[in-house]
């Protein structure tokens, strides 16, 4: 963010400085990960019980083997594609409902009550019921995923819409914007920091819900997902593979947060000076 403002003042040396800073921030985070891996490795070697607590290197080689020999990436993609479907569905649904809530106070109160009721309800607790209604398969997972994302995302978006400055609302109305085009051209961009925050929360909820669903109930699409991989290997006491599966869950989380969301923020709210 600050790079945009100060660029005009410090012309020549700035890009190099920024690159250096970015590099060092990146280096710092990498260093933290390396230290964590080191602690893991040493404590696992000291405990010397590979069947309960495999080392970092053993986990990584198990991960590598699983990717090569057991199509782990394919089953991960299976999980992710289900997740994406549910996520997108929930986000679109939430945007429609929240837009209606902005226009109509009865819808708003209904939405607020629904959020208060369902947001604290763990999505995974709905799975038995969903399986009863929709059977073992993707539909049940989608129902649970939509539930996991819809409420927290709607809550963040609603508070984002409420926080849009009065002047910007009036500007939109001044140019004759109404209904959907008012929401699309004024409210959504003006509330983007909150919306992105809601997307992040929703993503984290969806990911942990999906893994838990696959893990506990083994439901998934044909290939069997990442959670199913963990569950299966636990049954066979391949602890290093269980760790490999968990590591992959974490790695994907890091990539989504650190690359996709960071990039989205840099291209929008940070560039516009709406967020530091």
């Amino acid at each position: 963010m600050s790079s945009v403002t100060s660029e005009t003042n410090v012309a020549g040396g700035f890009p190099r400085l920024a690159a250096g800073l970015w590099k060092s921030a990146f280096l710092r985070k990498t260093l933290i990960l390396v230290v964590l891996a080191l602690v893991w490795q040493v404590s696992a070697q000291i405990s010397a019980k590979p069947i309960l607590f495999p080392t970092f290197t053993a986990t990584m080689s198990a991960l590598w083997n699983a990717i090569l020999n057991e199509n782990l990436l394919l089953s991960t993609w299976g999980s992710l594609s289900v997740l994406l479907k549910g996520y997108v569905l929930a986000v679109i649904l939430a945007l429609i409902i929240v837009s209606a809530a902005v226009a109509n106070s009865i819808v708003r109160e209904a939405l607020q009550s629904l959020i208060a009721m369902f947001n604290p309800l763990p999505a995974i607790a709905l799975l038995p019921l969903a399986m009863l209604w929709f059977g073992l398969g993707e539909t049940s997972l989608l129902v649970v995923l939509v539930h996991a994302v819809l409420w927290p995302f709607a809550l963040a978006t609603l508070s984002g819409f409420d926080g849009v400055p009065e002047t910007q609302r009036l500007v939109g109305r001044n140019y004759g914007l109404k209904g959907p085009s008012y929401v699309l051209r004024i409210l959504i961009p003006a509330a983007l920091p909150s919306i992105l925050y809601g997307l992040k929360i929703g993503w984290a909820f969806a990911w942990r819900t999906l893994i838990a669903a696959e893990l506990v109930f083994g439901v998934s699409s044909s290939s069997g997902g990442l959670g199913w991989f963990i569950f299966r290997n636990r049954n066979e006491l391949f602890t290093d593979k269980v760790f490999a599966g968990l590591a992959l869950v974490i790695i994907i989380g890091l990539i989504v947060e650190g690359v996709i969301f960071r990039l989205a923020e840099r291209m929008t709210v940070r560039r516009w000076g709406m967020q530091r």
Partner: protein
Amino acid sequence: MLAPVETQPSREAVFSARNLSIAYHGDRGVVQAVEDVSFEVGEGERLVLLGPSGCGKSTILKAVAGFIKPSSGQVAVRGRPVHGPGPDRIVVFQEFDQLLPWKTVRQNVEFPLRMSRRLDKAEIRARTETALRKVGLSRAIDAYPHTLSGGMKQRAAIARALVTDADVLLMDEPFAALDALTRKQLQQDLLALAEEIGFTLLFVTHSIEEAILVGTRLHLLSAHPGRTIATFDTREFGWEQYGNRRFEKVSSEVHDLLFKPQAQAGKELAHV
């Protein structure tokens, strides 16, 4: 000329308010913000609403913009009664965040034109560049608002109003949040633009000097509720007249009318 004048009915009113009263519902019941205010503004005229805080001047502007509904009376633009906000009346606000932060200066200025969908892309582009050149912002055309100073933001907002074919521009204390030097510069530039383009303007301020300089006509309002005190013709005053005897006389007279209501009766008769 310096004495309060009657509202003269002009032949072609661009916009008018007739017996405008505005009340809103506060925590302690109904508050009468504006009571029975009337004015008529012709082509190229600049009407300034001037009064202490609480006189309802911004409320009147918001009613003309169509953001709030008067409790009685009517606002009309070119004879058409106003029923809601619309791009025939473009507002310049006091707040710097009136520029949409996710759009560059150019996109902000283009925005009302693109929403009205009457012009093609090339025309919009040409108009935008002309308007930004007029307010002296050609260099910052592709900057995002958060990189601009307060004065530049207000210039961009003025360009966004100029670029449209609005019947009337509504400015709600646009310079109030600026430092003194910048404010003076923007007042000068606004006057020059008014001379050049001849737009019709409704301008709200609490500064007597600014009111006399910017306006061709002054509409003084009292506070709680906002009622018309007097109307002045100030078209003779520009920057050349700033601070001369007649200017000082008018400004002290306005000052007395606003802040010494008891002296009002005597003053009203004393033609200077």
